[in-house]
Amino acid sequence: MIYIHAGGIHNSIPDNQLPDLKSELKALSGKVYRRIDHFIQLAIIGAHKAAAELELAPQTAIYMTSGQGDIMVFDRVRRQRYFQKMLSKPVDFVNLSSNSAGFYVATHLGLNGKNLFLLHHHFPVQMTLLAAQNELNLGQQKAILVGGVDEWIPKPELAKKLLGVDEVTILGEGSNWLLLKAEAEAALATFALEPGTLNKIELQRLLLSVEAGTFLAFSSRFSAAEVAEIMVMNKGCKRYHYEASCAYYETLPLYVLNRFLHQEQGKLIHLDVSKGRYMVMRVGNNVFL
């Protein structure tokens, strides 16, 4: 069993304009950062919120994930390189390295532990949490700050194409973080992730064993019909509604877990699906009452 010790939410639905995160970051942390782009600003803000009231051990690891990464800089560098036949700007080149955001988060929080960035389509959050869960259970790490970061871009058609979502989907941005440890003392909630993907029959078998009153949250990849079908078959469960408070980004499951922990008491099962395979995460914050 592993435990959630803190969480941090930064979630927004930009209204056709890129949010000014530089000012927000300055107001939040009191620091002025140069040479960091929107994606990195977003990462620092979310991590800062998760760690704001904690004294993190310097060896705390950072595991960060994203569905699309630093896509604005990637697009700019791509255009410069292949259309304008120019070298990219040095700062863009540095920031495009896969782990730059993790480096800046670690610097901001004064951490020098393991630093991992995982870019993954379909299950970025679950794959990163799985790595964290394994490391904590094996005793390889004592504390891991897990973050999911996705930025909104002014030209969302590129992001939609990359993410494989339809044209009418509204995109948002978020930076949502959880501090995980293997120790229960002073924890906010329990966390467990089913390590493999399930087919529909295996999912239903798992849900039949869930105790009454458990909340079910569905990722936005579920169709309304499938959600209705699962809820009918599991009448003892309550649907956890979060959809009105956010728009789509691929690391949204970390927002959902965080939001639940901030607003509800009880047990939540988060369901996600991609290409007919399901992944299941469980959190519970009533076990410490």
Binding site: V32, R34, R35, K89, P90, V91, V94
Partner: protein, 89 residues
């Protein structure tokens, strides 16, 4: 007109440097025309990564290509000298 006499050009250069080096707390009026940009006296606190950003800014905004570090050190000294390099006559 020689670049150092072209106030509009010098202002464009200052804005380019401020933007490329993300020195939002500095205004173009704070940057003196005849002070070494890479010195304490300029108040800009520029470093080697800023130099690379300025090289790219010169290329993109002014079409000026500096081939090596010697060329950079020779021409990117003060605003006046940089302006004269871009616009000699």
């Amino acid at each position: 007109m020689k670049g150092s006499l072209d106030e509009a050009l010098k202002r464009r250069l200052k804005i380019m440097i401020i933007e490329e080096c993300e020195k939002e707390e500095v205004t173009p009026d704070d940057v003196a025309d005849d002070v070494q940009l890479f010195s304490d006296a300029s108040g800009l606190e520029l470093d080697s990564l800023d130099a690379l950003q300025i090289i790219m800014g010169l290329q993109i905004q002014f079409g000026i290509r500096l081939e090596d570090s010697k060329a950079f050190r020779r021409h990117v000294t003060t605003i006046n000298e940089l302006a004269d390099f871009i616009q000699p006559h």
